[in-house]
Chain length 786, copies 2
């Protein structure tokens, strides 16, 4: 029985239990977490020791002594409409959490703040507004009553006392007002504010979640900005000192580097804005100046504020924002490399946590490999996020931190730790089968998990199963279908396995039907790459090396594409490629964009001619569209020789799938239809194929539908029987199959993705076998011994 | 008991029954219908005699002898993508019904046809394409195979023999092809075709519905174009002759004038495109030339084809299209006046049927009154269409043709004539109570209705109730609330009571939540007018004379407004007006438009600040929006002093109501909320009010919600109690009340809009009374005798 490949969290005060658990689980590494200390015991353990290291926070005393070094974040005020002739008063920080942000009024606000008339889009000249600390000034200046800040609102929404009471006294709360002269009645104004972060976002989350306010020894941690020379100096010296003081540590677990993803809390300390990829808190005056010097143009506050959308990944990225990503990533990589080199020089490994202060370390970006990181560890919230970690190039190994985290939000009377562990493993296993993680681990308070023995038992089984997969597969990928799949969106490779994500692996009603495509693909036997519209336009090898292209998402997002579809060259390339034999799968509102050129486009889906379908927006009701669903088709109805077998696959749907989709002509084959429109359709297009699905929330059935849709789009059904996909598959959608070839021979693993027992037949190139799998069971077969 | 005010259809061969029915129903007018002849008996009847008269069709022999006089219609070919370098062949008439249209290839196709590259929006130079009757030419010219019309498709979709077999032999079927040179691969092309109509659209409908193909005496009727001098000459002479030959006729029922609304049938004779307001078949070369001479610019085929949307009323109308409406309406009015004058000169009344060939007679337009029509008769399909007729200015009287029409689609074993009569009456009565019709009538085959004695009994009751209302109200409007309501859209007064209509009064899933607002208003006690965005911008009295403005519909339609919301002046005017005390009610996606100016607008609903809500389109998921519904509010929860009483009103909703609507800040009062978003919300804005409703499909409850929403938006709840709306109302939403004052004193009618018995209390300025009404019952009370 193999051992190792497992990291467990430990803490002070439970030495005896730690020894027992390590022996029982055969863990080969231990770690601390945010808020726990490694016990003295670690130096006696036979395992590797990971220690979290926070380069950009943690030294509170130093931070309070260097208030100029706080990390900045761009915020947009709530919009306010001028309702009377004359000036308008705005409270730019209204609605924000005063214990997270203070407005930076010491900078040159005429340059680093911005007032915009949102009714015209025009920037208001800095001479026409000013910032004041005098809350009575507007009244004195005679601002009309309708345009004054309503002081009755002040204090209406206080922050909960228990998280505000320990506010550092040296960071004063400084309410400010902006007064805009000569506003236009009926126009809406916003203020783009450069604010200072006075509480690290993750530490605040952990603090609130764990009721640390009850512990007088705890303090709130202020983040400091690596761009400042004194901070950078302190970071290096701090790490030198720490490395010297911690000989017991084998692996420096950077958590993470310098800039946190975007979180803004509201007046009551609740999440107001969260965006896992957000660069809003990566900004500083020094960085902006360096950017301008390097790129030859200046970024404005609005380049970050982006109408209040803050360049979140659903927005098609501007050239300017892509420049910032590249600029900041190069900076973070160069400085992170210095810290990593120090760890190496001290004889330790460097591991990066993919999350928290990870901004600037895009692991699929061009600068990441330069850091020289040994490993990446990340939280596994789904199959897609597992692939996001395990597919990362340029590191020696990857580790998945499994759920649940040992925090009291799950390990409590209302929680279901075993259920969460099963769900996490079910999702992760699909991904691990296709692209192995090297290690797994857990995080949080071990003492808390130990109170749940049923969870500890289940964890032991999961760990054993993980090791079994790694041993049988020898850490290699299984055999894949020859069909090469590319996901097409505005981000391309940079955001591989990261599409449609808001907060890390969280459920969002409006992304659920789209992210299911990624979740399905993460466990399907295809080579998957992520390509951008720019790549399609600039590099013809992208389409040459693609058999099936998938475009998925809501209209006018970066994922479906938005205004890129106004480019005739893109349409020319894609339509010619499909007509020549390519497969194009659209899910939701693929290629959807209202083209504003007069006379151009009769469609909303710009690839409507390929997909055979389009979406009704309410202007085409005069067209009657009689359409009926076909009785039978490979994609939904299968055949003996198809994944899922002969079963009729009923698409799992949600109310958020695309609505009002209709066939543009009678040649379109409608596969599924209800009163809200087409749910699935296929279309032949020259020698190629289009497939449309209204939505694909993840389920075992939907994953199987996607499998078949890809094979059909690739033309496997149109070719001779002999050319059919040669992979093994199960004839029940609930069971998936992976086949590994290697020195140990050919091994097949069939795994049941549900909690129900399943009897099915395995079909392959040579043998057919009927098996029965218990709920969640994985079973290995030797197909051929060398 | 009053008599008269009733028109019944009669026909040949049932003289005895006609006499009995007329005596029983006390009808004072009889009529024929399309397809029935007046019996000789009419000259002996004591009633008025209406006769249908078809100026633009009916003389088939003459039509066939003048093939240059056919009415034209602009059609767009199905779009076709070029899939290979070189020319592209298009069958411009593919998919159209060959027995309705033939392509006009005798005109100057370089001017009156148009080929457009829909991928760029550019018109292809006429020198780069040609029309050919040689179906083999494309092959001879070497058009690549992928770009040839697939001849296997030809004949795949034949027209049903029974409606095509009697095709007039003198109108040859002329298949044609368009060959476009040097197309761009991947670009989509369409051909705008000037086609000749060879079958009148309504006559085709009646022909097919009644199986007239079984009757060898029937022929198909070709329409002819009043613009042609020979046609106009023939129309005048024909009417002169007809008037002279029909002394028994008292009322010439023009059905209608010259141009039919747009209908295109598909290859199988089914409706392919239907649009009750459509001007696509009002076009002729002569008219286009006259337009250019008068307006100083030329219209193009695309001005009519409009990307295949044919300027349907959901499209925000272009200036060019509005010019055409005005131009054509002036022409139709001038010629219709000549015909009407002839009827008058012959001692007959002139009545217009509002439908069929009614294009150019917009009854709320500036030219209609010039015609000098005595009366308008129209089909009553709902309360809104009833108001559309009864509110028409400039005629002496109006008549509503009630449903069901005596046709075999309803008067058959599967039909429910009594149910349809009840539903029609329930809807019509609400409208008639607020704005009286002068007469009612029925149409179709009386002989058919006579086979359904239960229907005849119910019809007798309805007729009696109608006469009772007219007698009690003296044909006057009841007392209205002082609150003045304006519906705001792109069409304004021109399309009063005609919003969101595709085919006359037909149910459309995607308009149902919007048209309910009109349906509710048609029976509510408010003065209602329809105003356009242009009016708001050009005439300040519009807002001065409005208390509550309603904007309702789907995003980017003429009804919600679309790109007009990019105009800051519109926002300035409306926001200032609301802030000053106005009420703005938005239903569905009011003021919704993506503003494309960089930096402009943080909202999708441009009036979001007034409504307090906006709609999530998938780019704002990073914003967390905690929102909870209020426990209580006047609009949904009522009060003793509110229509509907203290009942909690549960909005009747449909799946098509607007989704993903959220509160933009905490000041918004959310009244109803479900997992798809906000269903109802209210917001205070300066001294004024905003109200948002996600949808308002018509129901008794929703009408009551709208009633209360209007009162709340008008600020009645904010004023002193004494200023509350003084109208009488019932405290059950199912019962409505109308109060008439006149020489006969003050009379109140309380009517039950459901088939259920209802007990409720009537509240008024002075008395309170509890009553019990049977299903559909209306009861009259004398409030005060003079």
């Amino acid at each position: 029985m193999p051992a190792g490949r497992l990291t467990l969290p430990i803490e002070t005060g439970i030495d005896e239990q730690i020894l027992q658990v390590l022996a029982r689980f055969k863990a080969d590494a231990v770690r601390n977490s945010d808020g726990t200390e490694l016990p003295a015991l670690v130096s006696e353990l036979a395992t590797k020791v990971y220690s979290t290291y926070f380069p950009a926070r943690g030294d509170q005393e130093w931070a309070l002594g260097h208030p100029d070094s706080f990390v900045h974040q761009y915020l947009m005020s709530a919009p306010r409409t001028s309702l009377a002739e004359g000036p308008l008063e705005i409270d730019p920080m209204a609605g924000y959490f005063p214990h997270q942000f203070v407005a930076d009024i010491d900078c040159d606000v005429t340059k680093y703040w911005q007032v915009i008339d949102r009714t015209t889009g025009e920037t208001v000249a800095p001479s026409a507004w000013h910032v004041t600390r005098d809350l009575g000034e507007a009244k004195k200046l005679g601002v009309p009553k309708a345009n004054l800040v309503d002081t009755a609102d002040q204090g209406k929404y206080p922050a909960p006392a228990h998280i505000s009471e320990t506010r550092p006294p040296s960071v004063p709360l400084v309410p400010v007002r902006v007064i805009i002269e000569n506003t236009q009645v009926g126009h809406e104004y916003t203020v783009n504010v450069l604010a200072k972060q006075i509480w690290d976002s993750t530490q605040m989350y952990n603090y609130v979640t764990n009721d640390w306010y009850k512990d007088p020894a705890r303090h709130k941690e202020l983040p400091y900005d690596a761009w400042r020379p004194e901070v950078w100096q302190h970071m290096q010296e701090g790490l030198d000192l720490w490395l010297a003081e911690h000989p017991e540590v084998d692996v420096v677990r950077f958590t993470t580097f310098f800039y946190h993803f975007t979180i803004a809390y509201d007046y009551a300390g609740r999440e107001k804005f969260v965006e896992w990829f957000g660069y809003s808190a990566s900004v500083s005056i020094e960085a902006l100046q360096a950017f301008a010097a390097q790129y030859g143009y200046e970024l404005t506050p609005e380049d970050f504020v982006d109408q209040g959308f803050y360049n979140n990944p659903f927005r098609s990225p501007s050239r300017r924002f892509l420049d910032w990503i590249d600029f900041l990533s190069a900076f973070v990589a160069s400085r992170a490399k210095v810290l990593v080199d120090k760890a190496h020089a001290a004889g330790k490994e460097a591991m990066m946590f993919l999350g928290d202060n990870w901004i600037g370390t895009e692991p699929y970006g061009p600068h990441f490999a330069d850091i020289g990181m040994d490993a990446v560890v990340g939280s596994v919230g789904s199959a897609a996020t597992c692939r996001m970690i395990s597919d990362i190039p340029g590191v020696r190994y990857t580790e998945g931190r499994f759920l649940p985290y040992f925090f009291p939000d799950v390990f409590c009377d209302e929680g279901d730790p075993v259920g969460e562990a099963n769900e996490s493993w079910r999702a992760a296993r699909r991904a691990i089968m296709r692209s192995p993680l090297d290690r797994i681990g857990y995080g949080g308070y071990l003492s808390l998990a130990l109170k749940y023995p049923r969870f500890m038992d289940r964890m032991e089984e999961i760990v054993a199963e993980f090791r079994g997969i790694h041993a049988a597969s020898a850490g290699k990928r299984p055999v894949n279908s020859p069909v090469r799949v590319s996901i097409l969106n505005a981000w391309g490779a940079l955001r591989s396995w990261q599409t449609h994500m808001v907060s890390h692996a969280q459920y969002y009603r409006l992304t659920h039907p789209w992210i299911g495509v990624l979740e399905a693909l993460a466990g399907l036997p295809f080579d998957v790459r992520f390509v951008s519209f720019d790549q399609i336009l600039s590099d013809e090898s992208v389409l040459e090396e693609t058999d099936v292209l998938i475009n998925v998402g809501a209209a006018d997002t970066a994922f479906s594409g938005g205004s890129v579809w106004e480019n005739p060259q893109l349409l020319t390339l894609l339509r010619a490629w499909v007509a020549g034999g390519g497969g194009f799968i659209g899910v939701g509102e693929p290629s959807a964009h209202k083209v504003h050129k007069p006379g151009a486009s009769t469609h909303f889906f710009q690839m409507a001619d390929v997909l055979g379908v389009d979406k009704e927006l309410g202007q085409g009701l005069s067209s009657r569209r009689p359409q009926t669903a076909l009785g039978n088709h490979y994609v939904l109805d299968g055949s003996e020789k198809a994944p899922g077998g002969k079963t009729r696959l009923e698409l799992d749907q949600t109310a958020e799938d695309a609505k009002n989709v209709f066939a543009i002509n009678e040649a379109t084959q409608v596969l599924a239809l209800n009163e809200t429109g087409i749910r699935a359709a296929v279309n032949s297009y020259g020698k190629g194929h289009g497939v449309y699905l209204a939505g694909l929330p993840y389920s075992e059935t939907n994953a199987c539908v996607l499998y078949r849709a890809i094979l059909w789009a690739a033309g496997f059904q149109a070719r001779a029987a002999g050319a059919e996909d040669p992979l093994w598959y199960a004839d029940d959608p609930r069971v998936e199959v992976a086949v590994y070839t290697g020195e140990n021979g050919v091994k097949l693993c069939a795994y049941n993705n549900t909690e129900h027992d399943v009897t099915c037949t395995l079909h392959g190139s040579s043998q057919v076998e009927e098996i029965r799998l218990r709920g969640l069971e994985a079973r290995w077969f030797d197909l051929h011994n060398p």
